[in-house]
């Protein structure tokens, strides 16, 4: 059997590898951005990593999201400004780190994931909304994030495509977008090149503690019971990283843990290509809207409009694509057309839905589960914008026991009570 560090597996062949003979440092579950990026950082640092993804790499929310790099506090995060001020301050601190990580990404990855950081504008159409912008900008500025409030005229000077109804906008010069379809596969290739094993079509079946580490078993996804493909493979690893996004709670169950992440179905719309007109990431402080123009010319319109999660046996099914709701498409496009009128002259060519996950407090879960030493979680909370940063910090945490920026406010310990009674 060849040395694990240089093997790069093709899609289907597991038969020739004796997984049990190798002790991995980290077994990562989930082939989305956080999983692949963490694999990349770990492997680069010399760790032995295996990543298991039950579908195709980047198939989930990582590949379906809007690709926004929104460093200022989003609409969904400021619904509870009074209660969450401290956490939000911390979150903004993370934004500053993330801006630097994104600026280095092309060098880091060795390819161009169509990154654009030409600035973002969060708009307001009423005086109440403008007041909200002012309030949140104080939190952002207190953490050193560069934001400045513009009035309607100034906003339109910068972005002439904005409607007259825009009365104010918070400008964040580092915001922008990146192509989610390119980013994660680039990390996966990088991880492979550094010796990580990236295995798609591998469905995790069991997760158990073994000796001082963990044993994870997996099977080829969709294989028929009794067939060769259905052979169960076991891997032994010191640490497990649950980066399975909307599937993370189900993975946690295998390790006998509660993980309070909840699936959310969202909608995205794409227009035909247009000449480059919209240079900024557009968001709205009081309505659900995100709008950007990609390098290719399409306008991507989203902002948190819901798609209907499917149900199976009385539970939300994170396995199937959520159902598109026409009302969401209409609401989303109407909002976009009111803020950026040129949208009406374009044709809608594509919609899609995806499933992401959120916690009750809207913040990510990042860290080790105290009741299960060696079991780490990284999921939820702006996983695209902060994905590379989460991955970098998690890899530091897993390798050295500490991360260069404290992840304490996002630790699973804040839900620790839930797992106090789990064996």
């Amino acid at each position: 059997m060849a040395d694990v560090d240089v093997i790069n597996f093709a899609t289907t062949d597991c038969a020739s590898v004796n997984f049990a003979a190798v002790k991995f440092d980290v077994g990562i579950i989930g082939g989305g951005l956080i999983g692949c990026a963490t694999a990349s950082y770990l492997a680069k640092a010399g760790a032995r990593v295996i990543l298991l993804e039950r579908g195709q790499i980047n198939q989930g929310a990582s590949g379906q999201n809007a690709g926004s790099l929104h460093f200022q506090l989003e609409h969904r995060l400021i619904q509870n400004l009074d209660v969450q001020q401290r956490e939000l301050e911390f979150y903004v601190g993370l934004a500053k780190l993330s801006i630097e990580d994104w600026k280095n990404i092309e060098v880091d990855l060795g390819c161009d994931p169509q990154l654009a950081m030409h600035g973002g504008l969060m708009v307001a159409e009423t005086s109440e909304q403008t007041a909200l912008l002012e309030r949140k900008s104080r939190i952002e500025q207190s953490q050193g994030l560069s934001v400045n409030l513009l009035d309607g005229t100034q906003a339109r000077n910068l972005a002439p495509y904005l409607a007259e109804s825009v009365v104010a906008a918070l400008h964040c010069p580092d915001e922008g977008h990146c192509n989610p379809r390119l980013l994660t596969p680039a990390y996966a290739r990088r991880a492979s090149a550094c010796g990580a094993i990236i295995k798609a079509g591998a469905e995790v079946k069991t997760i158990e503690r073994k000796d001082s580490g963990w044993r994870v078993s997996f099977q080829q996804s969709g294989s028929k019971p009794g067939s060769d493909a259905a052979t169960v493979h076991n891997i032994n690893c010191d640490m497990v990283l649950n980066a399975a996004g909307a599937g993370a709670p189900a993975i946690a169950v295998m390790a006998n843990l509660h993980l309070p992440l909840f699936a959310v179905g969202l909608t995205m719309n794409a227009t035909e290509k247009a000449a480059p007109v919209v240079a900024h990431l557009i968001q709205h402080v009081g309505r659900k809207l995100s709008l950007k123009q990609t390098d290719d010319g399409n306008l991507l319109i989203g902002g948190g409009w819901s798609a209907q999660l499917r149900q199976k046996h009385g539970r939300w099914s994170a396995d199937e694509s959520p159902q598109l709701l026409l009302d969401s498409v209409m609401g989303n496009l109407r909002t976009a057309a009111e803020v950026v009128p040129l949208v009406k002259s374009l044709r809608l060519i594509r919609t899609w839905t995806g499933t992401t996950c959120i916690t009750a407090d809207q913040l990510p879960v990042l860290g080790e589960v105290a009741q299960a030493p060696g079991f780490f979680v990284a999921a939820g909370g702006s996983g695209f914008t902060y994905g590379p940063t989460y991955a970098r910090l998690m890899s530091e945490r897993m390798l050295t026991g500490q991360s260069s920026y404290s992840l304490e406010p996002f630790s699973p310990a804040r839900f620790g009570g839930l797992n106090a009674f789990m064996a």
Partner: protein
């Protein structure tokens, strides 16, 4: 009676049965459903009824002898009768963008919300039942130069002649594997055009193998007599009809100048080496057809993939019900089988719908369905035979998809670029994930003109079966939809 979309009130945008497609299947279903007292609306993107099969000329053209010949007579009489259906509403120049199930629909209420785009705006319709009979389109075949102006789907050339009474070029080459290209060559000649060659990829004996099936010959004598007359006319006009030959490249900078032709052996292998050049300004590609399955897949009705029979084939029961309650399928949507089959399936679907709406007793429905199902069995035998003799083989097309050929014309992605992406990302093994990374299928045609080629490239590169690879997700809108129109929709 045509409805001017601009004057229709929102409250009246309701139907018991909304039929998508006014071709042979749709017209037959409309006639039958109307006869059973069902309130019917038929929607079609074209300006006139008849579908692609008939492609009616504009009303302003005065023609004495449109579409002569027995092939079209049944459908033409159906077309004439459909004009007399006073209570059927025909919504023409209207495109169905999406079908949305209504949650918790009560008995007797609309089960579906259908978004339809017209030149004047988007309309929001409600229907208790929907029949999807959207027909098919010429299989797009990828080879170097296929996007040069002058290269067209053979059916597209035919439509210029049938409908617009225009011979859309000077010197035509027809290439493919489907006998329809003989019909088209004949139509070109009769309209005064010049055909330099008709090329079949398969051998002559295979192309004409139906002749060796006496029972089929007997049952479908009309078709054979027609084909024989066509061959005679083509010979008289000096049109070479050649077998074991395929166009492997279209040449020309701004416009088609010539095609390169290579020989194909009996195993379907295109032989390398010297190819012959034929000068021409128009090339008609005529291999096969793909069913327009976007709406069927948008509603998640069960389909199976069979490239030879039209790609995505909607599954149905003996009443033409799809796997979604209230949605029926008929015509090429259930497998490419021609207009005669489509007309019978349309009638059967109308019966099924009437039965389900409680307008018809089971015994009466069964009685009427008996002969229809018998006809369908017979017709499907012929359709199956025809598809076998006219389909090269699944992997034949791989040979045409050279690295330099453009596999996604909308995004201008070459096959070489797609293959390189697959090589760099060994974990990608489906058309859908290949689309995500390469952008294939993300243009205005929404993957209609590349999904087959992308499937072939991924299947061949990964050593997988098409069925394991195939499938771009089909979503609203089924065709590009004006956002200006959509946002002005009330409600």
């Amino acid at each position: 009676m045509s409805i001017n979309p601009g004057t229709r009130q929102p409250e009246t945008m309701k139907a018991e049965l909304l039929i998508i497609g006014a071709g042979p299947a749709g017209m037959a279903a409309a006639e039958a459903a109307h006869g059973l007292g069902i309130d019917v609306v038929v929607v079609d993107e074209q300006a006139a009824r008849g579908g692609q099969f008939l492609r009616q000329p504009p009303a302003s053209f005065k023609l004495t002898d449109w579409l002569p010949g027995k092939t079209y007579s049944k459908a033409k009489t159906l077309l004439a009768r459909s004009a007399e259906l006073s209570d059927v509403k025909w919504l023409l120049r209207a495109t169905v963008a999406g079908i949305f199930p209504v949650n918790n629909a009560q008995p007797g209420e609309a089960r579906f919300r259908i978004i339809i785009d017209t030149q004047d705006g988007t309309q929001d319709w409600q229907a208790r039942s929907v029949l999807i009979a959207g027909g098919c389109y010429d299989l797009p075949v990828t080879f170097p130069g296929w996007t040069i102006p002058g290269v067209m789907a053979a059916g597209g050339i035919q439509a210029f002649i049938k409908s617009q009474q225009l011979v859309p070029g000077q010197r035509f080459v027809l290439a493919g594997s489907h006998p329809l290209q003989l019909v088209i060559a004949d139509q070109i000649i009769q309209a005064g055009g010049e055909v330099a060659a008709v090329l079949f990829a398969q051998s002559q004996s295979r192309a004409l193998s139906l002749v060796r099936q006496p029972l089929t010959l007997w049952r479908h004598a009309n078709k054979f007599i027609q084909m024989a007359s066509i061959l005679i006319r083509l010979r008289k006009a000096g049109v070479p009809v050649r077998f074991n030959q395929a166009v492997v490249q279209a040449n020309g900078a701004e416009q088609l100048q010539s095609v390169s032709v290579a020989s194909v052996n009996r195993q379907g292998e295109i032989l390398k080496g010297a190819s012959e050049e034929i000068e021409c300004d128009r090339l008609g590609i005529c291999y096969s057809f793909l069913s327009s399955a976007e709406l069927v897949r948008q509603v998640n009705a069960n389909c199976i993939w069979n490239a030879r029979r039209g790609g995505w084939i909607a599954q149905h029961d003996h009443w033409m019900r799809s796997s979604i309650a209230g949605i029926y399928v008929a015509g090429e949507t259930t497998g490419v089988a021609g207009s005669d089959t489509a007309m019978v399936e349309g009638k059967l679907a109308a019966l099924g719908c009437a039965l389900d709406l409680g307008q018809l007793q089971l015994s009466s429905a069964e009685q009427q369905a008996l002969s229809m199902r018998r006809d369908l069995r017979r017709l499907n035998v012929f359709a199956e035979l025809l598809s076998q003799l006219s389909w090269p083989n699944d992997a034949f097309f791989d040979q045409l998809i050279s690295d330099s050929s453009i596999v996604c014309k909308c995004e201008e992605l070459s096959a070489g670029e797609l293959r390189q992406m697959l090589q760099d990302n060994p974990e990608i093994s489906t058309a859908s994930s290949a689309k995500l990374l390469s952008r294939a299928g993300m243009g205005l045609c929404q993957g209609r003109y590349c999904h087959h080629a992308v499937t072939r490239v991924v299947a061949q590169t990964r050593g997988l079966e098409e069925q394991e690879v195939v499938g771009f997700t089909s979503r609203f809108p089924a065709k590009p939809l004006s956002i200006g129109h959509l946002t002005e929709l009330k409600g």
